[in-house]
Symmetry: C2
Subunit: 186 residues, 2 copies
Protein backbone atom coordinates (compact mmCIF):
# COMPACT_ATOMS: atom_id res chain seq x y z
CA UNK A 1 0.00 0.00 0.00
CA UNK A 2 1.41 3.36 -1.03
CA UNK A 3 -0.17 4.88 2.08
CA UNK A 4 -2.37 7.14 -0.04
CA UNK A 5 -2.88 9.88 2.49
CA UNK A 6 -6.49 10.18 3.44
CA UNK A 7 -8.07 13.57 3.55
CA UNK A 8 -8.46 13.15 7.28
CA UNK A 9 -4.75 12.52 7.49
CA UNK A 10 -3.98 15.70 5.64
CA UNK A 11 -6.46 17.54 7.80
CA UNK A 12 -4.61 16.44 10.91
CA UNK A 13 -1.41 17.90 9.55
CA UNK A 14 -3.07 21.25 8.96
CA UNK A 15 -4.84 21.16 12.30
CA UNK A 16 -1.63 20.35 14.08
CA UNK A 17 0.03 23.39 12.59
CA UNK A 18 -2.81 25.62 13.74
CA UNK A 19 -2.66 24.30 17.29
CA UNK A 20 1.10 24.73 17.39
CA UNK A 21 0.84 28.29 16.21
CA UNK A 22 -2.16 29.55 18.14
CA UNK A 23 -2.56 27.25 21.13
CA UNK A 24 -5.79 25.54 22.10
CA UNK A 25 -7.98 28.57 22.64
CA UNK A 26 -6.49 30.47 19.73
CA UNK A 27 -7.16 27.60 17.36
CA UNK A 28 -10.71 28.56 16.51
CA UNK A 29 -12.95 26.35 14.43
CA UNK A 30 -12.81 28.95 11.68
CA UNK A 31 -9.03 28.76 11.58
CA UNK A 32 -9.03 24.99 11.78
CA UNK A 33 -11.61 24.81 9.03
CA UNK A 34 -9.73 27.19 6.78
CA UNK A 35 -6.37 25.56 7.33
CA UNK A 36 -7.67 22.06 6.73
CA UNK A 37 -9.86 23.01 3.80
CA UNK A 38 -12.75 21.22 5.47
CA UNK A 39 -16.03 22.79 6.46
CA UNK A 40 -16.90 23.10 10.11
CA UNK A 41 -19.29 20.19 10.02
CA UNK A 42 -16.82 18.02 8.14
CA UNK A 43 -14.40 18.49 11.00
CA UNK A 44 -17.07 17.16 13.30
CA UNK A 45 -17.51 14.21 11.01
CA UNK A 46 -13.90 13.20 11.59
CA UNK A 47 -13.65 14.41 15.16
CA UNK A 48 -17.01 13.78 16.80
CA UNK A 49 -15.92 15.24 20.12
CA UNK A 50 -14.88 18.53 18.58
CA UNK A 51 -11.82 20.48 19.43
CA UNK A 52 -10.63 18.10 22.10
CA UNK A 53 -10.52 15.28 19.58
CA UNK A 54 -8.65 17.46 17.14
CA UNK A 55 -6.15 18.48 19.79
CA UNK A 56 -5.58 14.87 20.71
CA UNK A 57 -5.04 13.92 17.09
CA UNK A 58 -2.53 16.75 16.85
CA UNK A 59 -0.64 15.46 19.87
CA UNK A 60 -0.58 11.96 18.42
CA UNK A 61 0.73 13.23 15.13
CA UNK A 62 3.38 15.25 16.89
CA UNK A 63 4.32 12.31 19.08
CA UNK A 64 4.96 10.19 16.02
CA UNK A 65 7.28 12.82 14.64
CA UNK A 66 9.09 13.08 17.96
CA UNK A 67 9.61 9.35 17.97
CA UNK A 68 11.13 9.36 14.49
CA UNK A 69 13.19 12.51 14.79
CA UNK A 70 14.37 12.50 18.37
CA UNK A 71 13.77 9.30 20.28
CA UNK A 72 14.98 7.17 17.38
CA UNK A 73 18.42 8.77 17.20
CA UNK A 74 18.71 8.70 20.99
CA UNK A 75 18.11 4.95 21.02
CA UNK A 76 20.50 4.22 18.18
CA UNK A 77 23.72 2.41 19.01
CA UNK A 78 26.95 4.34 19.34
CA UNK A 79 28.65 6.96 21.43
CA UNK A 80 26.17 8.76 23.70
CA UNK A 81 27.47 12.25 22.84
CA UNK A 82 27.10 11.48 19.15
CA UNK A 83 23.60 10.16 19.65
CA UNK A 84 22.66 13.37 21.45
CA UNK A 85 24.11 15.39 18.59
CA UNK A 86 22.03 13.44 16.12
CA UNK A 87 18.97 13.92 18.30
CA UNK A 88 19.67 17.65 18.47
CA UNK A 89 19.40 17.75 14.70
CA UNK A 90 16.07 15.96 14.96
CA UNK A 91 14.90 18.40 17.62
CA UNK A 92 15.78 21.30 15.37
CA UNK A 93 13.65 19.78 12.63
CA UNK A 94 10.87 18.92 15.04
CA UNK A 95 10.62 22.52 16.22
CA UNK A 96 11.30 23.99 12.80
CA UNK A 97 14.57 25.42 13.98
CA UNK A 98 12.95 27.06 16.99
CA UNK A 99 10.03 28.66 15.17
CA UNK A 100 7.45 26.10 16.20
CA UNK A 101 6.01 25.81 19.67
CA UNK A 102 5.69 22.91 22.02
CA UNK A 103 2.23 21.50 22.64
CA UNK A 104 3.25 20.63 26.19
CA UNK A 105 3.55 24.32 26.89
CA UNK A 106 0.59 25.38 24.78
CA UNK A 107 -1.94 22.88 26.08
CA UNK A 108 -1.06 23.63 29.67
CA UNK A 109 -3.26 26.71 29.37
CA UNK A 110 -6.72 27.32 28.06
CA UNK A 111 -9.87 25.31 27.93
CA UNK A 112 -8.42 22.06 26.66
CA UNK A 113 -9.92 19.06 28.42
CA UNK A 114 -7.82 16.37 30.00
CA UNK A 115 -6.97 14.09 27.12
CA UNK A 116 -4.82 16.33 24.94
CA UNK A 117 -2.70 17.86 27.70
CA UNK A 118 -2.30 14.42 29.21
CA UNK A 119 -1.13 12.98 25.92
CA UNK A 120 1.28 15.88 25.49
CA UNK A 121 2.65 15.22 28.94
CA UNK A 122 3.09 11.56 28.06
CA UNK A 123 5.05 12.51 24.98
CA UNK A 124 7.35 14.67 27.08
CA UNK A 125 7.78 11.82 29.52
CA UNK A 126 8.79 9.52 26.68
CA UNK A 127 11.35 12.02 25.54
CA UNK A 128 12.70 12.38 29.04
CA UNK A 129 13.03 8.60 29.31
CA UNK A 130 15.06 8.52 26.12
CA UNK A 131 17.33 11.29 27.38
CA UNK A 132 17.67 9.42 30.63
CA UNK A 133 18.78 6.25 28.89
CA UNK A 134 21.49 8.13 27.01
CA UNK A 135 22.77 9.71 30.19
CA UNK A 136 22.95 6.28 31.77
CA UNK A 137 24.91 5.02 28.78
CA UNK A 138 27.27 7.92 29.36
CA UNK A 139 28.03 6.49 32.76
CA UNK A 140 25.66 8.24 35.11
CA UNK A 141 23.70 6.63 37.89
CA UNK A 142 19.95 6.27 37.41
CA UNK A 143 19.34 9.19 39.74
CA UNK A 144 21.89 11.41 38.06
CA UNK A 145 20.64 10.44 34.62
CA UNK A 146 17.07 11.30 35.51
CA UNK A 147 18.12 14.77 36.63
CA UNK A 148 20.16 15.30 33.49
CA UNK A 149 17.21 14.29 31.35
CA UNK A 150 14.97 16.72 33.16
CA UNK A 151 17.60 19.40 32.70
CA UNK A 152 17.65 18.74 28.97
CA UNK A 153 13.88 19.12 28.69
CA UNK A 154 14.04 22.31 30.72
CA UNK A 155 16.62 23.77 28.36
CA UNK A 156 14.60 22.91 25.29
CA UNK A 157 11.31 24.27 26.62
CA UNK A 158 12.97 27.38 27.98
CA UNK A 159 14.84 28.04 24.78
CA UNK A 160 11.59 27.84 22.83
CA UNK A 161 9.97 30.37 25.14
CA UNK A 162 12.91 32.75 24.93
CA UNK A 163 13.26 32.37 21.19
CA UNK A 164 9.60 33.09 20.65
CA UNK A 165 9.68 36.11 22.95
CA UNK A 166 12.72 37.56 21.22
CA UNK A 167 11.61 36.67 17.75
CA UNK A 168 14.95 35.02 17.07
CA UNK A 169 15.89 31.38 16.86
CA UNK A 170 19.42 32.04 18.12
CA UNK A 171 18.70 31.18 21.78
CA UNK A 172 17.15 27.91 20.67
CA UNK A 173 20.13 27.04 18.51
CA UNK A 174 22.51 27.80 21.37
CA UNK A 175 20.50 25.61 23.72
CA UNK A 176 20.71 22.75 21.23
CA UNK A 177 24.47 23.21 21.10
CA UNK A 178 24.57 22.92 24.90
CA UNK A 179 22.56 19.70 24.87
CA UNK A 180 25.36 17.14 24.53
CA UNK A 181 27.18 18.75 27.44
CA UNK A 182 24.05 18.76 29.57
CA UNK A 183 23.47 15.07 29.05
CA UNK A 184 26.91 13.51 28.87
CA UNK A 185 29.45 15.75 30.63
CA UNK A 186 30.38 15.06 34.21
Amino acid sequence: MPAAKSSKDEAIDAITDVFREFGFDGASLSRLSEASGLGRSSLYHYFPNGKDDMAQAAVERVSERASELVIGPLRAPGDPAMRVKAAAGGIAKFYEGGRANCLVNLFAFGEAGEAAPGAAKDMAAGLEDAFCAVARDAGFSPKEARLKAEHAIVEIEGALVVSRAQGSVAPFQRALARLPGVLTDR
Copy 2:
Protein backbone atom coordinates in the same frame (compact mmCIF):
# COMPACT_ATOMS: atom_id res chain seq x y z
CA MET B 1 2.68 58.34 52.74
CA PRO B 2 1.34 55.06 54.10
CA ALA B 3 0.54 54.22 50.52
CA ALA B 4 -3.16 53.77 51.33
CA LYS B 5 -3.90 51.29 48.61
CA SER B 6 -6.40 52.64 46.16
CA SER B 7 -9.15 50.38 44.91
CA LYS B 8 -7.53 50.53 41.49
CA ASP B 9 -4.29 49.37 43.04
CA GLU B 10 -5.95 46.39 44.64
CA ALA B 11 -7.74 45.66 41.41
CA ILE B 12 -4.43 45.49 39.58
CA ASP B 13 -3.21 42.87 42.02
CA ALA B 14 -6.26 40.73 41.43
CA ILE B 15 -6.12 41.27 37.69
CA THR B 16 -2.47 40.34 37.61
CA ASP B 17 -3.22 37.06 39.32
CA VAL B 18 -5.91 36.26 36.78
CA PHE B 19 -3.60 36.96 33.84
CA ARG B 20 -0.84 34.88 35.38
CA GLU B 21 -3.17 31.96 35.88
CA PHE B 22 -5.22 31.99 32.69
CA GLY B 23 -3.16 33.89 30.13
CA PHE B 24 -4.48 36.73 28.03
CA ASP B 25 -7.29 34.96 26.22
CA GLY B 26 -8.30 32.97 29.26
CA ALA B 27 -8.60 36.09 31.37
CA SER B 28 -12.16 36.94 30.42
CA LEU B 29 -13.78 40.15 31.55
CA SER B 30 -16.10 38.12 33.74
CA ARG B 31 -13.15 36.55 35.53
CA LEU B 32 -11.33 39.86 35.82
CA SER B 33 -14.46 41.51 37.16
CA GLU B 34 -15.12 38.78 39.67
CA ALA B 35 -11.53 38.57 40.88
CA SER B 36 -11.19 42.32 41.29
CA GLY B 37 -14.61 42.79 42.80
CA LEU B 38 -15.23 45.55 40.29
CA GLY B 39 -18.07 45.74 37.84
CA ARG B 40 -17.45 45.92 34.14
CA SER B 41 -17.98 49.65 34.07
CA SER B 42 -15.51 50.22 36.89
CA LEU B 43 -12.90 48.18 35.07
CA TYR B 44 -13.39 50.30 31.98
CA HIS B 45 -13.32 53.40 34.12
CA TYR B 46 -9.83 52.49 35.32
CA PHE B 47 -8.66 50.86 32.11
CA PRO B 48 -10.26 52.78 29.23
CA ASN B 49 -8.62 50.61 26.60
CA GLY B 50 -9.97 47.42 28.07
CA LYS B 51 -8.07 44.20 28.38
CA ASP B 52 -4.92 45.52 26.78
CA ASP B 53 -4.68 48.24 29.41
CA MET B 54 -5.26 45.70 32.15
CA ALA B 55 -2.61 43.41 30.75
CA GLN B 56 -0.16 46.26 30.58
CA ALA B 57 -0.90 47.25 34.17
CA ALA B 58 -0.33 43.65 35.17
CA VAL B 59 3.04 43.61 33.44
CA GLU B 60 4.01 46.86 35.16
CA ARG B 61 3.01 45.48 38.53
CA VAL B 62 4.95 42.33 37.90
CA SER B 63 7.98 44.30 36.69
CA GLU B 64 8.06 46.24 39.93
CA ARG B 65 8.09 43.04 41.89
CA ALA B 66 10.84 41.63 39.69
CA SER B 67 12.92 44.72 40.34
CA GLU B 68 12.56 44.41 44.09
CA LEU B 69 12.90 40.67 44.40
CA VAL B 70 15.41 39.76 41.70
CA ILE B 71 17.18 42.68 40.09
CA GLY B 72 17.81 44.37 43.45
CA PRO B 73 19.71 41.42 44.95
CA LEU B 74 21.62 40.95 41.69
CA ARG B 75 22.83 44.55 41.82
CA ALA B 76 23.78 44.46 45.48
CA PRO B 77 27.47 44.54 46.33
CA GLY B 78 29.27 41.36 47.26
CA ASP B 79 30.34 38.03 45.86
CA PRO B 80 28.63 37.28 42.54
CA ALA B 81 27.70 33.73 43.48
CA MET B 82 26.16 34.96 46.71
CA ARG B 83 24.21 37.62 44.87
CA VAL B 84 22.85 35.00 42.51
CA LYS B 85 21.82 32.86 45.47
CA ALA B 86 19.98 35.79 46.98
CA ALA B 87 18.33 36.48 43.64
CA ALA B 88 17.29 32.83 43.38
CA GLY B 89 15.39 33.28 46.61
CA GLY B 90 13.70 36.32 45.10
CA ILE B 91 12.85 34.38 41.97
CA ALA B 92 11.27 31.65 44.04
CA LYS B 93 9.07 34.25 45.73
CA PHE B 94 8.35 35.97 42.44
CA TYR B 95 7.07 32.77 40.89
CA GLU B 96 5.45 31.52 44.08
CA GLY B 97 7.89 28.67 44.31
CA GLY B 98 7.22 27.62 40.72
CA ARG B 99 3.44 27.68 40.87
CA ALA B 100 3.00 31.01 39.10
CA ASN B 101 3.52 31.51 35.39
CA CYS B 102 5.61 33.96 33.49
CA LEU B 103 3.83 36.69 31.56
CA VAL B 104 6.57 36.62 28.94
CA ASN B 105 5.46 33.12 28.05
CA LEU B 106 1.74 33.73 28.50
CA PHE B 107 1.49 36.94 26.51
CA ALA B 108 3.44 35.49 23.60
CA PHE B 109 0.21 33.75 22.59
CA GLY B 110 -3.32 34.91 22.17
CA GLU B 111 -4.91 38.10 21.09
CA ALA B 112 -2.94 40.50 23.24
CA GLY B 113 -1.99 43.64 21.34
CA GLU B 114 1.55 44.93 21.15
CA ALA B 115 1.92 46.88 24.36
CA ALA B 116 1.64 44.17 26.99
CA PRO B 117 3.83 41.56 25.29
CA GLY B 118 6.33 44.28 24.51
CA ALA B 119 6.44 45.40 28.13
CA ALA B 120 6.83 41.80 29.25
CA LYS B 121 9.69 41.40 26.85
CA ASP B 122 11.30 44.56 28.24
CA MET B 123 11.04 43.18 31.75
CA ALA B 124 12.79 40.02 30.64
CA ALA B 125 15.46 42.10 28.95
CA GLY B 126 16.03 44.02 32.20
CA LEU B 127 16.41 40.77 34.04
CA GLU B 128 18.85 39.47 31.49
CA ASP B 129 20.89 42.66 31.80
CA ALA B 130 21.11 42.19 35.54
CA PHE B 131 22.20 38.57 35.12
CA CYS B 132 24.72 39.73 32.57
CA ALA B 133 26.22 42.27 34.96
CA VAL B 134 26.68 39.59 37.61
CA ALA B 135 28.39 37.29 35.16
CA ARG B 136 30.75 40.08 34.21
CA ASP B 137 31.51 40.66 37.89
CA ALA B 138 32.31 36.97 38.09
CA GLY B 139 35.06 37.55 35.54
CA PHE B 140 33.45 36.78 32.21
CA SER B 141 33.85 38.77 29.04
CA PRO B 142 30.87 40.81 27.87
CA LYS B 143 30.13 38.25 25.20
CA GLU B 144 30.40 35.30 27.57
CA ALA B 145 28.36 37.09 30.20
CA ARG B 146 25.58 37.80 27.74
CA LEU B 147 25.35 34.12 26.82
CA LYS B 148 25.32 33.10 30.46
CA ALA B 149 22.54 35.54 31.20
CA GLU B 150 20.50 34.16 28.32
CA HIS B 151 21.17 30.66 29.59
CA ALA B 152 19.86 31.64 33.01
CA ILE B 153 16.62 33.00 31.56
CA VAL B 154 16.23 29.86 29.47
CA GLU B 155 16.57 27.68 32.56
CA ILE B 156 14.02 29.67 34.50
CA GLU B 157 11.42 29.77 31.71
CA GLY B 158 11.95 26.12 30.89
CA ALA B 159 11.70 25.06 34.50
CA LEU B 160 8.40 26.90 34.82
CA VAL B 161 7.03 25.11 31.78
CA VAL B 162 8.16 21.71 32.99
CA SER B 163 6.95 22.30 36.52
CA ARG B 164 3.54 23.35 35.32
CA ALA B 165 3.28 20.39 32.97
CA GLN B 166 4.26 17.93 35.67
CA GLY B 167 2.25 19.59 38.40
CA SER B 168 5.29 19.64 40.65
CA VAL B 169 7.55 22.48 41.65
CA ALA B 170 10.57 20.20 42.00
CA PRO B 171 12.00 20.89 38.53
CA PHE B 172 11.75 24.59 39.18
CA GLN B 173 13.51 24.29 42.52
CA ARG B 174 16.30 22.24 40.94
CA ALA B 175 16.73 24.83 38.20
CA LEU B 176 17.06 27.54 40.81
CA ALA B 177 19.75 25.50 42.53
CA ARG B 178 21.64 25.30 39.23
CA LEU B 179 21.46 29.05 38.71
CA PRO B 180 24.66 30.12 40.53
CA GLY B 181 26.63 27.59 38.54
CA VAL B 182 25.13 28.71 35.28
CA LEU B 183 26.07 32.32 35.90
CA THR B 184 29.36 32.21 37.74
CA ASP B 185 31.11 28.90 37.01
CA ARG B 186 33.73 28.74 34.32
